[in-house]
Symmetry: C2
Subunit: 223 residues, 2 copies
Amino acid sequence: MLKRSKIPKPTVKRLAVYFRCITKLSNDGIEKTSSKEIAERLSIKASQVRKDLSYFGEFGKRGVGYDIEKLSFKLREILGLEKLWNVAIVGSGNLGFAIANYSGLEANGFKVVSAFDIDEKKIGNVILPGVTIKRFSEFSKEIKEKDIEIAILTVPANVAQDVADKVIDNGIKGILNFCPVPLSAPENVSIEDVDFVISLKALTFEITSREQEKKEQEKRNNA
Amino acid sequence: MLKRSKIPKPTVKRLAVYFRCITKLSNDGIEKTSSKEIAERLSIKASQVRKDLSYFGEFGKRGVGYDIEKLSFKLREILGLEKLWNVAIVGSGNLGFAIANYSGLEANGFKVVSAFDIDEKKIGNVILPGVTIKRFSEFSKEIKEKDIEIAILTVPANVAQDVADKVIDNGIKGILNFCPVPLSAPENVSIEDVDFVISLKALTFEITSREQEKKEQEKRNNA
């Protein structure tokens, strides 16, 4: 079997999507599924589903498909979701507030236990029930007391690397980075970028491409 | 040259990242750059930068590098960013509010001109200066009047496909989907998913992998 750290990132993300898909099937009372069914629900190829799962050994039987309970158990283990992860919001502005209050977090095993800012006007405000915004200078103490492993970074871009350096120095293991800048981090810290402006530009690329090709087609038709 | 619609999605996203990188260089008064410099700033390989750019012909001269102004002009054209794009927020909850007020949008050519909800308590509230939240039933009228091409979807997951169908029926060209469900859309509508829970699970996969491999290493060392 391939070393876990060698599994391609797109495969890992798809595994998380498969996990969500079969969790839904399971909630609907369904007990068996197939790569074909998962693929259809996600508008991808069944061969892709089989290839992604094959990195982790044999799950299903040819022609019989997957037992949902077993596959769910295995995916939960692979993704590290057998435990609840304590998360800190670093930067308690509009975006930090929205993420802290996003119901999908706790439902998926992520618990926002702390929130930080440097704006004195925000310190002490409740960001979500049970969590008040603390001074960023208290991060070091909080991360130990509350066993925080992941930081969600929603600070202004110009301070992102500085803040990232500080949370890393304090032992954070992973950063979900909402700042539109690439962060450097040592090898033993994971970074995931969520950059929705880049996604918007992928949209405008596609829309523009479609319109250009349509125009070219019309030109050819009129020629 | 490859048809634009055949360019791989990861390449398109990297082009948007290169554009941001050289915009920064340009703002710093720098006039020339190289694939090596761009790659170093983004922690990727220079060969990747060259390959991605090569889809669109020759930009630089071997050994001389890229003229930033020319490359910037070309990337802006490729990504469809020569114009301002009008955007609607569909679902004006916490996340919709945070995105509407995200300063990076207008700075990158995206203008939030409308916002919608179905919650009567929200209708008429100001989501950002100059934009009040309207009833979703007015979407059809607004999209024409305000020339909206892109919708940012921040509605609850259970209504996401229904709402997507409605904005598509009204002629939207692209959807930035923040809902944690895969959306189906006809071929002439682009969808980009922003799913930060999936990104969190990619983080927990990596953290767990690292910890497992460390434990295995320690076991081997003690054996």
